[in-house]
């Protein structure tokens, strides 16, 4: 099932290996984009049920694989280079013959959090020690890093600036340019290789970035510390050193992200966040599918028009609220709204919500529980990040089967059963189910969890505290973190 390469795709070919097989990508591709173009969508498997996962923009587990002897490499960031050896993880003995995928046959109820402390294997017995070793092997998912990899600390840097802008979209650029014009020292950090890649792919005209603004591209700001006195960022390239900013002020223009609808099948490979679909089509020349459905909260028409303009075949455009379920075994084969629509990819453009992580880290305080009651004074938000969030989309029929946290296999049904038993505290639900404790560390799954709690308890999603957003959300490696040691002295 090879996907369509669009007319503007790079023609320069690069050969690498996927699960031992030689495959071909194009220069400038990420590994995920190259595999997607070849029709290889299942890149990873969920932790317990071994469900197929792939590139989505949401759940990160879907893009983690072993590359060049390193475990858990993000394939949506890893560029294809000649002869790179990339392998699926969480398989045993190997990807071609994987006994672990038999877990798909088990009723998911059997694997709900807590199954591991079964009364059949109580601690204090020899069988528990065997059981625990087996669990550790299964839960570990990835083989440890090779012992021949470099193991030196990667020196970081500390940099004082008047203003740190996080996010390279239109409002981030505007604010950075204005501050530079006013004579301030400004740094702009963005995750993409160029600032404003999503806006660019959407066709938005972006102001040129003032040459006096210091640009940190491919750098993820992962934590704000001491009420925003320090901001720490890690480069996407694990060979580069991390950066600690000491900004006079911080402006978050991190925009909004589309939160996947909570319906059965929303975890399937082929369900893509609008920004990821546009990235594939615009930057890599890879069609998200041969027949694509675009769903959203109003912005779907623009996204669909943009994709169509790039040569993508669109078969349906409509409101995400009408979506009942996404069907397919290993990838999307159809969706159900008020009718069945055959399609091989679903792009969601809304509901749009801000990732609350950074603002939370800067301002939240507490003894018993961190809560964001008062935003940190030196941290401001602008652009769409500052706009109100849209309510998350929760399905109706078959809701218990929908996955709130696909990486950790937490279904809506598991959360609903705890709520039916009287437990609706988000912090407690997190501890009971491990919802949001996987590689994404809570976004977007806690948005869905909060919406589900609100629905089940008849309260407002903003009315209760959320689990604390903990840095650094796998943004940096041990070697990169070690290279920062000594740059910030412990506070007195």
């Amino acid at each position: 099932m090879a996907m369509k390469r669009l007319a503007h795709a790079s023609q320069e070919r690069v050969s690498f290996r996927w699960n031992g097989r030689r495959v071909e990508g194009r220069k400038g591709d990420t590994v995920a984009a190259a595999l997607y173009a070849l029709g290889i969508r299942e890149l990873a498997r969920s932790r317990k049920s071994h469900r197929p996962l792939g590139l989505s923009g949401g759940h990160l587990q879907g893009v983690l694989a072993r590359a060049g002897g390193r475990p858990n490499v993000r394939l949506d960031l890893e560029p294809v280079v000649a002869d790179l050896d990339v392998r699926m993880q969480n398989v045993w003995p190997g990807p071609r013959f994987d006994l672990l995928s038999a877990a798909r046959l088990l009723p998911s109820r059997w694997l709900r959090s807590g199954f591991e402390h079964t009364r059949l294997m109580p601690s204090g017995t020899w069988r528990f020690q065997i059981w625990e070793r087996l669990l550790a092997f299964l839960a570990g998912m990835a083989d440890p890093p090779g012992r021949d990899l470099p193991a030196d600390a990667i020196p970081g840097q500390r940099l004082a600036v008047d203003l740190l802008v996080v996010g390279g979209g239109p409002s981030g650029r505007k604010a950075a340019n204005e501050a530079a014009e006013a004579g301030k020292s400004v740094a702009l950090a963005c995750r993409g290789s160029r600032p404003g890649r999503f806006a660019e792919a959407l066709g938005v005209q972006l102001p040129e970035l003032d040459s006096r603004v210091r640009l940190f591209a491919r750098l993820e700001i992962f934590g704000l510390y001491r009420n925003g006195a320090f901001a720490a960022g890690a480069p996407k390239d694990p060979r580069e050193g991390a950066v600690i900013f000491e900004p006079g002020a911080i402006l978050l223009t991190t925009g909004k992200r589309s939160v996947p609808p909570l319906v059965p099948g929303s975890h399937l490979p082929g369900v893509l966040e609008a920004s990821v679909a546009l990235e594939l089509a615009h930057h890599h020349g890879v069609a998200p599918g041969m027949a694509v459905a675009v769903l959203g909260t109003g912005g779907e028409r623009l996204v669909a028009a943009r994709l169509a303009g790039l040569g993508v075949e669109i078969v349906h455009v409509g409101p995400v609220g009408a979506l009942k379920r996404i069907a397919g075994a290993n990838t999307v084969t159809s969706i159900a709204t008020d009718r069945m629509i055959t399609c091989d990819a679903v792009v969601h453009a809304g509901p749009w919500r801000s990732d609350p992580g950074l603002a939370f880290q800067a301002g939240a305080e507490g003894l018993g529980q961190l809560r964001l009651d008062q935003p940190a004074t030196q941290v401001a938000m602008a652009g769409s990040a500052a706009a109100p969030d849209e309510p998350a989309c929760i399905g109706q029929a078959g809701l218990p089967q929908a996955l709130v946290c696909p990486c950790m296999d937490v279904s809506a049904g598991e959360l609903m059963d705890h709520m039916a038993a009287g437990e609706s505290d988000p912090e407690v639900l997190k501890r009971l189910t491990a919802c949001g404790m996987g590689p994404c560390q809570g976004f977007p799954c806690w948005e869905l969890q909060a919406a589900l709690i609100a629905r089940e308890t008849g309260s407002a999603p903003e009315g209760f505290g959320r689990p604390s957003h903990r840095p650094p959300r796998r943004a940096l490696t041990v070697a990169q973190a070690a290279g920062l040691d000594g740059l910030v002295a412990p506070d007195r």
Binding site: P122, A136, V478
Partner: protein, 388 residues
């Protein structure tokens, strides 16, 4: 949470963490009824859901070793007693010395262990290499291995304790803060929670980092203060580090959980810090030690970094017993190795409260030992220095 509280309790326990629940369970097991546990936070929100998960019975002093060896035994039989699986993994606990001073301390510890029946040994080079292949052996001067130590995950052990308490009709309420105490004739007579009053003649304070503040509500002082301690988790990988580890000279502890994450942290000087906010130096300092001693971890990513709080005392030892200034007010506090000590302390505290029997193993840790000039200094711990 919003349901009315009972108007009286036989024993009122403040704190629904490891220590509060372990004591409640033991009291219920002894046949006491009308037990009430109140907790201002949420289930596992305190140190019981945020500690290193490490369990050991052997230290370098007889006092610590007697108490913790007893608790280690309790851990071993806990699943059976509770009827729920606490997942205590008896995988061993290795203490590592990089300096001559710490290596000597291990010799002292070995003798203490021998006297108190704790199984421990100095690992030979081949034994160390096969147990901890990820560890750079050149950095190790001596490794002391406790065979019966290990780890237990919070989510399983706390779930088991809470379930066992509720099955025995212990009333456990979270998100319920205490606001005051009443006393009569030099004894505790009631506890106030907002508008509600619970009559009782025995109160146990087991509120972790909040112990000093809760005791102040009762009008009495406790040694020590609340402080923040931080830890971090690396993303999961298949088993790489088998035993629980304490790097005594680096003040670092870690283990790999049954979920595959490598969880640990570096200690910072003990100072009053009442906050759950994390800071950069602990993350970078822990990473630096990992990298130097276990270079294979270099390319692993840090998943999350968080803070918890505990109640630290001037000698780092627990406070166990009745408060000398207020009859009926019991303390099980000052725990820095509280996860390891919980099941043992629960059994001893229950016996003390219900029967008035102060066990020999808890006597050295009486809450007034500092006033009497009898601190118990233990050096084989991952704690640096008490600064106040």
């Amino acid at each position: 949470m919003n349901a009315t509280l009972p108007t009286r309790a036989s024993v009122l326990i403040l704190g629904g963490g490891m220590h509060g629940l372990a004591t409640a369970f033991n009291l219920a097991d002894m046949g006491l009824q009308d037990l009430l546990v109140l907790d201002a936070g949420y289930w596992q929100g305190g140190a019981s859901g945020r500690n290193g998960g490490l369990i050991r019975g052997g230290f370098s002093t007889p006092e610590w070793t007697r108490l913790f060896a007893f608790s280690n035994e309790q851990w071993a039989g806990l699943s059976r007693r509770l009827g729920h699986n606490v997942m205590f993994s008896r995988r061993g606990y290795t203490m590592i010395a990089e300096t001559e001073k710490t290596a000597d301390l291990f010799e002292t510890a070995l003798n203490v262990h021998r006297e108190h029946g704790v199984r421990s040994e100095i690992l030979t080079e081949p034994a160390f290499a096969s147990l901890l292949p990820a560890f750079d052996p050149r950095k190790v001067r001596r490794a002391l291995h406790l065979r019966d130590g290990g780890v237990a995950p919070h989510h399983a052990a706390m779930k088991a304790l809470l379930a066992a308490c509720r099955e025995r009709e212990v009333d456990v309420r979270y998100r319920t803060a205490v606001t005051g105490f009443e006393r009569s004739n030099g004894r505790v007579s009631a506890v106030l929670a907002g508008d509600e009053r619970i009559a009782t003649d025995a109160v146990l304070i087991a509120a972790g980092a909040q112990n000093v503040q809760v005791a102040a509500l009762a009008g009495v002082k406790l040694a020590g203060f609340g402080m923040r301690i931080e830890a971090m988790a690396l993303e999961p990988v298949r088993p790489l580090i088998r035993p629980a580890l304490a790097l005594i000279d680096r003040l670092v502890y870690l283990h790999q959980t049954a979920r595959g994450e490598i969880v640990g942290g570096i200690d910072v000087p003990e100072r009053p810090r009442m906050s759950l906010k994390v800071d950069l130096p602990v993350m970078t300092g822990t990473a630096k030690v990992y990298l130097e001693l276990m270079p294979q971890l270099a390319s692993l990513r840090i998943l999350r970094h968080w803070a918890g709080m505990l109640h630290i005392t001037p000698d780092f030892g627990p406070l166990m017993g009745e408060h000398p200034d207020l009859k009926g007010l019991w303390i099980s506090g000052g725990w820095s190795y509280g996860w390891a000590g919980g099941p043992g302390a629960g059994a001893l505290m229950a016996k003390a409260i219900a029967k008035g029997e102060i066990d020999e193993r808890m006597k050295p840790f009486a809450p007034d030992r500092f006033d009497r000039g009898r601190p118990v200094h233990e050096a084989a711990v991952v704690l640096s220095k008490f600064e106040h």
